[in-house]
Subunit: 570 residues, 2 copies
């Protein structure tokens, strides 16, 4: 839990001084520090509730958390003594091992799968090409500034590019919360969500790659070397994440773990975390692994879970992510005042803020134009066209967030404090300026709102309340007759929503493992046939190749029952 | 999350040596250490799943976790180098701030309320008088042994009593899991569950009280002083926990937080933790506060929560508790080999094991006899009679667990390592001996099994799947017409289970705050009338006074709607 991590953050932070203190006193201090932190979190959540309930859309939760943090930071700054000031100092490692994983995992898990795969081309273009353009543009602009030698400040080109990568990770939290409350068009929502979670991963890998060239001479070979490292890191990490996700799906398929939902939920959570730490241990990117593990878990393993595990993984991931997010933003606001060694250079901050905006512009508009042109050439009609209003909104949604601040904490050398301070201020500025005007911008751009949300597979609707009954009984070792009527959907013919994964949940009471294995052989045969079919299919079919390959080849192998037949999903 | 806490445990543990190491290397080590820990947890869970699915009831999850830990501990012990050995060392503060809270909170939250209050007299007698008898008997036996001066070992009487308190906290996990799978009679289940969670709290407060007299001269005044401190600590802590729970209930009643279930769930979790740290900060017992906060939250606040928050708090608490439990037992097994400075004194261990069994005997049987006599005298019939088989089972269920080990970590002075080692071994022995034979004992004692579980208010049944629909829509800002038919129970007349808190969930769409306040005034008037009624009621009624007072006075004030009318609960 989050509270737990906070203790340790605090413990660790004041560990050095307190080793000679009375342990009972230390215990008492940490209890109070934790209590205050919890009260801050509660305060931020309640304020954000109040603001939301009053329909004040200009101010969002994240901005409130930042402000709460700033107020407390200011109080701590002016109050005497260093004990509390030391308590709130923070290692970037905690960010990466404690606070970030739940957020990333939840992003992957909450991703609206069908829309994501429908817009995958656009999203990948923005995430890869876009983040590269943004980082390089920002890096060059910042480097030029440092070359002009205002404020007696000079940085290397690698440092400038690192700064570019740091500030290219956009934050989805604020914008998407506003989009959610306005029910913005699903396509725009999906593009922004997909882009912002993937570009976090791209920016992190890029930053880590650049750190390897810190202080070295640069030439053309370095560039290729860097790109190779980047590509290997990204795709090996992706592979790790996807493999762990698939392993989990198979484990759930070939076991009766769903009879013990408490064990099942814990194992799913632990598997996801294992992918994160395994990937980090292999010098790969844990964030990328965790993200794709989350996506794979949701795309495959989810259908093999029991009703209880579906709900509990969803809720556990969400609550942990929510707490981590709020903590990060409170901390962010607090840092502005409590990190005494930060060096603020006003002109550099101003230039960086402008450069951030410019680099976002250079990323969104040219890429959108290119994609629009490409789509038009292909078949005359305007498939996947990105209208101007969407482009403008994409540009506007380029808030910077917590990932940037965490990356900045990794800066070393004489410029470190300046770069950290600049990142911190720029992030808070973009949060306030862009976050505060998103809802106004939606109105100005006349973007369609109030769209009915797709009833996606991840809502409670499809989680079968009457299946839950069957599940519950079996978990307790026997089927109660009084509830038997609930077990068949025929007992509730007037139910308007018929969940699409009905077949693959209520399962284990009938199928024996041996029967399953023979079924599996048939599935493989069918899958092989489908596989052949694809490579002789028309060009039109291949445009949708992933979705169909997935439905007809992968899902039959991985899922408990073939969901593709009864499923309206694509 | 638990993984997070583990990192910090490890980080902290090797913090002293690693400050001069390369931080990247340190990062790498901790990633691997964490990965290994996660794999251990997954392994323990999977083994326990396997054992459960093969219906091997003699071996339970906790015992498996202990064994997994022992195997790994042995490997670590024989492998060269101290890095990993240092990584797994563990501060008792982490136990108390990170691992224990989720377990305690979940115990309180999962408590079967109606059965608990029905047997509250028996439970309180065992928890208070029983734990006192057990601690004092154990303390005296251990003190006598140390007086005989075998093994060159002498301890003070306060130390002996502390040891008694440490080993009087019984562990519910193993026994109750077995009871659950056998569907043992609810009354026996509730008595054992209630006793074991309350006696943890009693033992902790007792231990802490005793620590204040460590090394001081003892006389009669000290005894009274100690009892006073104990009573104050216990009841002030209880008050803190109950107050926070009631505050949360009122907050949920007088706000529209249920429209934002993600904020709601986080606030409930944070409030519970705040009670824990506030209580610790005030030199009170956080465990007692958290336990009663959990009970209060479930008893009142639960009915004011949205459907999503009900589910998510339940699942979040449960998953965190499950992970903490498994981690503790793995750690327990590991400690036997990795804690190099422990001093094992075989005779003392043997004597303590015997003393633990004897003290449990002295606690269960005389108290049961006393209560049976008392109950019989009262009205001739055998209300609340505890049959011999139940007494024997209560005696057998006296496993010692994680709380004891954590308390033992607080021992100081020259005997500390001996006392820690002894506690560790005794706990593992009771887990294996008593835990391994519980199911056999159930058969020998001919205790009724296969009893249909009461459909309690905390199952998913009562959480209204069709209400969830309304909830979902409102959360998204509009009511969809297509689902409107789901909102009324009339649309599903053939549903056999009509949840009892139907009225108080679907609420906020109609009642305005001003209307609520006038309603509240009426409620207060009604409550005052009911209050008067009690004190003129017959003696028979007063036996059930708490339940009725609760239903007619407290619930109308605290809950969104008066659930007492439609509720079959008592």
């Amino acid at each position: 839990m989050d509270a737990a991590s906070i203790i340790n953050v605090i413990r660790r932070a004041d560990g050095d001084e307190d080793d000679d203190q009375d342990p009972a006193l230390q215990e008492l201090y940490s209890s109070w520090a934790l209590f205050i932190l919890l009260v801050l979190l509660i305060g931020a959540l309640l304020t954000s509730y109040y603001v939301q309930s009053k329909k004040i859309r200009a101010i969002h939760e994240t901005v409130i958390s930042v402000f709460v943090g700033m107020v407390v930071g200011l109080i701590i700054r002016v109050s005497p003594g260093l004990i509390i000031q030391n308590m709130v100092s923070f290692h970037s490692t905690y960010f990466f091992n404690v606070l970030l994983p739940p957020i990333i995992l939840n992003s992957g898990y909450e991703l609206h799968q069908s829309n994501f795969f429908r817009n995958i081309g656009t999203i990948l273009t923005f995430a890869f090409a876009g983040t590269f353009i943004s980082a390089v543009t920002l890096g060059i602009l910042v480097y030029i500034f440092s070359f002009l030698n205002f404020e007696n400040f000079h940085m290397s080109f690698v440092e400038a590019l690192s700064m570019g990568a740091t500030l290219s990770a956009t934050d989805p939290v604020t914008v998407l919360a506003i989009f959610n409350s306005y029910r913005v068009d699903q396509k725009l929502y999906t593009i922004i969500f997909g882009e912002s979670i993937l570009n976090d991963a791209v920016a992190i890998v890029m930053f880590e790659t650049l750190q390897k060239f810190q202080g070295k001479q640069l030439h053309l070979f370095t560039l290729f070397n860097g790109i190779t490292i980047f590509i290997i890191t990204f795709f090996v990490s992706l592979l790790i994440g996807v493999s762990v996700g698939l392993m989990t799906a198979l484990l759930l398929k070939y076991s009766y773990l769903r009879r013990y939902p408490h064990i099942e939920s814990c194992i799913i959570l632990l598997m996801a975390y294992a992918s994160y730490f395994f990937s980090n241990g292999c010098h790969m990117s844990g964030v990328v692994s965790l993200l794709f593990c989350g996506i794979t878990l949701k795309h495959y393993a989810f259908y093999n879970m029991s009703y209880k595990a579906k709900l509990s993984t969803k809720y556990v991931f969400r609550v942990l992510a929510q707490l981590s997010e709020n903590f990060i933003f409170i901390y962010l606001g607090m840092s502005l005042f409590t990190q005494v060694d930060l060096v603020y250079k006003p002109i550099f901050i101003l230039i960086t803020t402008i450069a951030v905006t410019a680099s976002r512009y250079m990323n969104v508009f040219p890429l959108s134009k290119l994609m629009n042109k490409f789509h038009r050439q292909k078949d005359g009609t305007l498939i996947d066209h990105i209208p101007y209003s969407y482009q403008m909104m994409l540009f506007w949604a380029g808030l910077r967030g917590a990932v940037g601040v965490a990356l900045a904490a990794g800066f070393e050398g004489e410029n470190a404090q300046t770069l950290k301070a600049t990142t911190l201020v720029v992030v808070v500025l973009t949060l306030i300026i862009f976050g505060g005007t998103t809802s106004r911008m939606l109105e100005i751009l006349n973007i369609e709102t109030g769209v009915a949300a797709d009833v996606d597979s991840d809502t409670e609707f499809s989680m079968l309340p009457w299946q839950a009954t069957a599940d519950y009984d079996l978990e307790n070792g026997a089927m109660e007759l009084s509830n038997a009527s609930l077990d068949s959907p025929a007992a509730a013919p007037d139910r308007p929503i018929v969940p699409d994964d009905y077949e693959n949940v209520e399962v284990f009471s009938e199928a024996s493992p041996s029967k399953k294995i023979s079924n599996t052989f048939e599935q493989y045969q069918r899958a092989a046939g489908a596989f052949n079919h694809f490579f002789h299919a028309s060009r039109d079919d291949q445009a949708q190749w992933f979705s169909r390959f997935d439905e007809e080849v992968i899902k039959p192998v991985l899922l408990e029952r073939d969901v593709s037949k009864s499923s309206p999903r694509k």
